[in-house]
């Protein structure tokens, strides 16, 4: 094991199922104690990559290492360092929670004298100890089942935890609880979690990997991804006054500025406007100063719209579609091209 290197290393990973390529040339690294979000539409190859990392299925080519140990060459050694919670979290319905965790502890080679205490600790961490301890897993609610799955994943204190869609099907309270739990692992365990819910990844993760159609589209922290993929600045403005005369005024700040009222005026006559500048530049002060000089305009609110991970995701996946289908651009007269497996991303509506 390498103590200083990244806990997860993936180099040029490929996985083919017959003619279908599920994962194509994916390379990334995750450092110790980091929480990494795996983002992509359904069928993008998230689960396949995770299953390869856990040694459940072999990769067609490429290298995957956990704590410096090759998954392909030493799958059993890797399994001792990994906690995996698969998609849909399959659990045996006929066991009690505490029985199940003890059984899993034995299989994960936790020494007998430590096991009892470790089971109590993870049940406490996952809030299972008081209410669900002796309950049969088949009778538990979805939220509790999910906690049992997470408790199992962290039971053997693994170096790496892999969770495939850990919050799917949970209510907002449960999502918050699971998110807090994952947050508490930061710095101690390396966590990979996959999701197609962008907000969740944005809140919990130190770095994000976006994959689409089996290809790596973008990787980095949410902040870095913003600068890479977002090339414009957007403001929301609430304003009362004559919109017809506004255009030359705003254009005087920046010639390429575009704006549009996103709604009819409300009861007090204020419009909601979206202003977009095609570069990263803070022009909020200029807008305010300009409108102050013109008394016919009354400003109620102005705020910069932070680009969300959703925007980055859409921009990144759009770019990957364009790169993967260059023939479309070359031959515009061709008949309607076959639709990609997921709908072509369109820019989201800006909040009004």
């Amino acid at each position: 094991m390498n103590a200083s290197g990244p806990n997860i290393e993936v180099h040029n990973l490929h996985k083919r199922f017959g003619q279908v390529s599920a994962v194509e040339d994916i390379t990334f690294e995750v450092g110790k104690g980091q929480i990494m979000g795996f983002l992509g539409p359904n069928g993008a190859g998230k689960s396949t990559t995770m299953r390869i990392l856990c040694g459940i299925i072999p990769a067609t080519s490429g290298v995957a290492r956990i704590c410096g140990i090759s998954v392909a060459n030493h799958p059993n050694e890797v399994k001792r360092r990994i906690g995996y919670m698969p998609e849909n979290n399959p659990l045996p319905d006929d066991m009690r929670v505490v029985e199940y965790l003890r059984y899993r502890g034995h299989l994960k080679e936790i020494p007998g004298r430590k096991l009892k205490q470790r089971v109590e600790t993870v049940m406490e961490l996952c809030d299972l100890r008081r209410r669900a301890r002796r309950r049969v897993i088949g009778t538990l609610s979805k939220g509790y089942r999910q906690r049992v799955g997470i408790a199992d994943a962290i039971l053997a204190e693994p170096d790496v935890i892999v969770m495939d869609e850990p919050t799917i099907g949970l209510d907002p309270h449960q999502i918050l609880a699971v998110r807090d739990l994952i947050d508490s692992f930061r710095g101690e365990m390396t966590v990979i979690l996959s999701s197609h819910i962008l907000a969740e990844i944005e809140v919990s993760c130190d770095c994000v990997i976006i994959i689409n159609n089996g290809r790596l589209v973008a990787t980095g922290s949410p902040v870095n991804l913003r600068t890479e993929f977002i090339h414009n600045t957007i403001y929301d403005l609430q304003l009362q006054g004559d919109l017809a005369a506004l255009d030359p005024l705003l254009k005087s700040i920046h010639p390429d500025l575009t704006w549009a009222p996103s709604s009819d005026p409300d009861e007090s006559g204020f419009y909601s406007l979206t202003i977009e500048v095609p570069q990263i530049e803070n022009i909020g002060e200029e807008i305010l100063l300009l409108l102050q000089r013109h008394a016919e305009y009354r400003v109620r609110a102005l705020h910069a719209v932070e680009p969300s991970l959703e925007d980055i995701f859409l921009a990144a996946t759009k770019r990957s579609w364009n790169e993967s289908m260059p023939e479309k651009a070359v031959n515009p007269q061709a008949t309607e091209p076959a639709r990609p497996p997921v709908p072509h991303p369109t820019p989201p509506d800006r909040p009004g």
Partner: protein
């Protein structure tokens, strides 16, 4: 192999808390009890060449055809369908340990069921209470040979069931597949033996070697030969090995 005791304990626990197990056991004992009773009835009507226990063991294939698929069809197919096989495969437990635990649990249960049928001759003897009948009902060589045959042939039958279960995620398909495979290796081999008379000596001997009914006859007479042991144990190892490959490749 250090995970095997924990896996086996879990399998046995699951087996013994499941109502289906007890239903299967009761059905098995009713059927076998009825068969034994029919044999005794026939014995009372006209003289027979064989002892009642020998006749009883000749019907071994009947419970094999329905009990073995019932016992084994769930084992790996259900785990695969539920996805719990995947979580098992991410622990340090190996495919071999998983397959062996399923096999051992089903085999232990199979042997327990057969051991319960030892109650039939004992009960018959107690109710008849005649020293002459005791020799016939509780003939040691026949009973020992018969149960030894059941135990050793059970290895192969259960492993076939486990193999069928490893191939699919549907219990019904696994059950039907194991029934067909068991039919082929018992009845099919017998039919092949009749055909093989005209074949060359080499082929005839090979088919002859695989006659499960022949093995039974020898064991019931108290003849314990090592060749059937080799046949059952080697084939069990082969089939379990194939199951391990399937589990590891398809998990």
């Amino acid at each position: 192999m250090k995970h095997l005791p924990h896996l086996l304990k879990n399998e046995l626990r699951a087996l013994f808390i499941s109502p289906a197990t007890y239903i299967a056991a009761v059905l098995f004992l009713i059927l076998m009890g009825w068969l034994y009773w029919r044999i005794l009835l026939q014995f009372s009507l006209e003289p027979q060449d064989d002892l009642p226990s020998a006749l009883f063991f000749q019907l071994f294939w009947l419970p094999v055809f329905f009990m073995v698929p019932l016992l084994t069809m769930k084992s790996l197919a259900e785990e695969r369908r539920r996805g719990t096989l995947e979580t098992l495969m991410t622990t340090p437990a190996t495919g071999m340990e998983i397959v062996l635990s399923k096999f051992a649990a089903a085999y232990i249960f199979y042997c327990c069921l057969w051991l319960l049928t030892l109650g039939f001759p004992i009960l018959a003897n107690l109710s008849l209470n005649s020293p002459m009948m005791e020799d016939r009902l509780l003939d040691r060589a026949t009973l020992f040979g018969g149960y030894l045959f059941v135990a050793i042939s059970g290895l192969l039958f259960i492993s076939v069931g486990i193999f069928a279960s490893s191939l699919t995620r549907s219990q019904v398909v696994a059950g039907m597949l194991s029934f067909c495979l068991l039919f082929i290796i018992t009845i099919g081999m017998r039919a092949l033996h009749e055909e093989a008379v005209s074949w060359g000596p080499w082929l005839r001997e090979t088919v002859d070697y695989m006659q499960i009914f022949r093995h039974l006859e020898e064991f019931s007479r108290g003849v314990i030969d090592t060749r059937p042991f080799f046949f059952y144990i080697s084939n069990t190892a082969l089939i379990l090995g194939l199951s391990v490959i399937v589990v590891e490749a398809k998990a």
